[in-house]
Symmetry: D2
Subunit: 326 residues, 4 copies
Amino acid sequence: MASNPKFSVGLWSLDGTSDRFCRQGYSKTLSVTALIRNAAKVPGCQGIECHQTDFNQIGVKEYVRAMRANGLVTTNINTNVWGDAVFKHGAFTHRDKKVRGQALGEGKRAVDIARQVGSPGIGLWLGSDGHDYPFQADYQEQWRLLVDAIRQVAEYAAPDIKVGVEYKLKEPRNHIAVGCVGKALSICMELGLDNVGVALDFGHALMSKENPGESAVFLARHGKLFNVHFNDAYREWDDDMIPGTVNVWETLEFLYCCRITGYNGWYGLDMYPYREDGLAACSMAIRHLKSMIKLVDTLDEKALRRAQRTMDAIATEKVVGKLIFR
Amino acid sequence: MASNPKFSVGLWSLDGTSDRFCRQGYSKTLSVTALIRNAAKVPGCQGIECHQTDFNQIGVKEYVRAMRANGLVTTNINTNVWGDAVFKHGAFTHRDKKVRGQALGEGKRAVDIARQVGSPGIGLWLGSDGHDYPFQADYQEQWRLLVDAIRQVAEYAAPDIKVGVEYKLKEPRNHIAVGCVGKALSICMELGLDNVGVALDFGHALMSKENPGESAVFLARHGKLFNVHFNDAYREWDDDMIPGTVNVWETLEFLYCCRITGYNGWYGLDMYPYREDGLAACSMAIRHLKSMIKLVDTLDEKALRRAQRTMDAIATEKVVGKLIFR
Amino acid sequence: MASNPKFSVGLWSLDGTSDRFCRQGYSKTLSVTALIRNAAKVPGCQGIECHQTDFNQIGVKEYVRAMRANGLVTTNINTNVWGDAVFKHGAFTHRDKKVRGQALGEGKRAVDIARQVGSPGIGLWLGSDGHDYPFQADYQEQWRLLVDAIRQVAEYAAPDIKVGVEYKLKEPRNHIAVGCVGKALSICMELGLDNVGVALDFGHALMSKENPGESAVFLARHGKLFNVHFNDAYREWDDDMIPGTVNVWETLEFLYCCRITGYNGWYGLDMYPYREDGLAACSMAIRHLKSMIKLVDTLDEKALRRAQRTMDAIATEKVVGKLIFR
Amino acid sequence: MASNPKFSVGLWSLDGTSDRFCRQGYSKTLSVTALIRNAAKVPGCQGIECHQTDFNQIGVKEYVRAMRANGLVTTNINTNVWGDAVFKHGAFTHRDKKVRGQALGEGKRAVDIARQVGSPGIGLWLGSDGHDYPFQADYQEQWRLLVDAIRQVAEYAAPDIKVGVEYKLKEPRNHIAVGCVGKALSICMELGLDNVGVALDFGHALMSKENPGESAVFLARHGKLFNVHFNDAYREWDDDMIPGTVNVWETLEFLYCCRITGYNGWYGLDMYPYREDGLAACSMAIRHLKSMIKLVDTLDEKALRRAQRTMDAIATEKVVGKLIFR
């Protein structure tokens, strides 16, 4: 049974990049329209992810027109509640009710836009909700506010818009509240809402020292693997590199796990090619992923499952080693 | 309001140590009776934790007699299902029904012993349930077996014996299934049993890159902070060092979080003094912890909470910095 | 014997901050003159570090005037060869001779400025000289160019201007060539130039999983501890936090090691208070450091050395524990 | 130009394993003679590495006879000065002259054995020379003793026996003195002895967050890449896994770097298959390495070097990606 994956590109992966050392940027930023045009040039790309804040720059109508003209669909509207200094100390968990309300408003705006542009869901990566220093945060209050805020947005989004909570250990905060796959799932379980699930970012899972494939299965057991963000990394940081350039085995296993759990969502590229051309990086990313999916298709699954029953790594490696070592 | 903590010592912290490089051991192993006697010599120690396998060596009656003679109570019976080569590929999740049954039997034996010796609970640190190599494990089956096995032991333990699931990222397996606080909580939520909670090991939390204080609050929100294991570490590995010797701030914050969440369980020493004298190490551990609890008692909590509402680290550091910097 | 430390502030620690998520910044950038004025307001601050590129904005004369007016001396001119997109793939090791020449020119410009403003040395933190992806760099050529370029700048600086090579594991590159204390020292040894040494950044040492105190001694053995950059971090990343807020023991030990090796250079604050007020953060930093230096002054050094001879951690902890635990 | 690698097996990789949790072992230990016989059964294995302490169990003559009978040569005699409790606090740097003398004696004994059995060199992995707790060690004295001891052994070994200093970040100590490639090289530079170089362990390099290929080039620049130990790992710990099972790209790059630097020493397997059959693990290791060497042989080196000159990762990835992605 061959896989039939669908690829989406996070618009930011095609845009100009910067960091704290090179504030004016390693490359030029582009307009949303130009980014959409570039996404359409990525071989194999059928959809895009963007942020609600992209619509500060472009109207919904103009966006829809550009998407249609380029034959693309929207696969996710991510909620940017970290890119403005107002949210530097928090967004959904800000102790100032006004700021928190502003953040919640942005979450609902993401839902509105999702409905308007036909996106199946929104993303909640709450990058500024966390803490940097010991004793800085009142965790009791933080977690109460966090769960409450996600509930509010999720109820606003129900029943037609899915909400994918995206976990990440750190960056930009030294500790982000929703820091691992288990915390993300526990939020879903506490809320008990059908439209709340998890967006799994491959590099974030590595950063939390998880095996991304296991994390996918862990979520899928509860029907909560809602979206996938793809990239690669050296395990200590969110390096946001091109898939397959560092961790081949865990990427192959992740793709295999997506298949056996029946994941039929999108593979969204969430990269940050600091020094590379975004269009070239995204094109290579999908090429690599397609090539790895083909490798997974050649896997003797029956033999693998037989080997897994022995629990002996020599047995499983004999089966999977064939994908690369000949 | 002063804290009134209770200290327990994990017997193994007093015992001879070894590692893969020095198999015959850095120090001599002692009999259970000798370990109990030594525990009683640790100033401030009122209880002990041990393993069900310790009762291979000592009868329950003899154990109870020794404990009474030394004025100690049992605070936890840990389930050792990793110390025998039969469990090298797994215990509660072993694919061989016979081995899995043997592991489950050990879990129930821990419950039996807990009842016999008056321990309030048992511990489930499932150190061999995980995987080492990519593709080695069938995660779907692993998680199904894991949750099912914990349920069986928990139902056997209900209603009087608490079951504390102890998470750890790795060691001895490269990936342990229950690897972070969120996964541990999600198991509790899935099972929905009153007597299933989590044992939080300070060093394990650090290893999973958590802030242990936040993890305590995260669990306490759900009434699931059942037991605490104390030690210290450099964050990448389970170094099992003497508390307070590496991370002073996070230990202070953890003690503070235990207090504000109303944790009234034990602080159990789970150390592994490879090259140090166990008795001296445990004595120093409680001395350090008592000293840190006193420091926390001097904390101006009202000022801290006020500072936390600003969300500004400068404000909170001004309050807590006084504990050490004068 | 009391220590008599001298504190300097890296101007950037007082400036507006940004990161890749909040490109427009968490706080406003200031002019060099305003930064100097703020440095003078930091209690205990006697000097500043800046970059040669700051002089794109301010003339040398105006700078000297401002420094004098504020009673400050320049302790280091850092060479910024990473903040401009032209250096995104490398500076001293760029394969394009023209770009490499431009980088070398900047290094020499830092020397020129150091002479003009009376700075004892320059800093070479070569943040863009490294690689991100496997196979990306020709390491043979990279190391040849690196050593050659440092030699050129050092010869230009000799004999009156010291050159401090600052190592860092990563960020902004995934791998920076001069990534650990040993590599930095080996460059000094290969060059054999009196005016080439190492700038040790506390957080960089932690990131390379070193014990900063040991690194200081390691360098001092060869007379190569030229400059110190202070901050604190969680060991996995260059968090650039306020000293003493995470790692108290290793900071105390580092200060002790600086003392016993006779380090008489500056302690330069190299922080990046993303969300905090720079002036408040720097003021707290020096307050913390002074407090920790006082603690070290109370250390019973004779007892410590006696304990160290036993090699037993219990013995050494008994001596140093008194600094915090009473 | 095809590579012609020579493979050696560390005897311990074939032996029974244990760890602190399973002290009696995951598998049975074998006699040296049985290990040699098993080494000969590993397809592609031409030599072995062992420890001087193996000769507590077998006489030199009997060893030589067994080696000849099995058609194997000795490629390295490693100095075990960490497996006995006497060395728990240090060996070459022990503050007790008697213990230090005993350790030095073991180093010289390794040299003697190397001469007797025809090994080209000895290994100095000084696993117990380091520290666990802050303030525990007197680093000034430690480094003085360390360099002095290595010099003594090296002079004893000169001119015919090579001494390979093997660096490792930690385990069994929390901090090992010779912790990174740069420190190892700096020792060689300080000593200035022709027969002192470095043994690079692939997993140790990863643990120190190095790119092993770059480390190989870094050492080869100074003619100091003396020996290679092969395995694989997840980068945070010395997992000692089968090569190629985690990090394919960095292994390929390392093999490429060995080739371009003209490394003509041995590839010695230094694995620790805790739960796997040693013979099967070593056989798979060489099979994987041979397969990867073949892949490297297909690399278009000219195209790679051309791409590296652009410094653009997209360009280099296009060349090397072909090795796996088709």
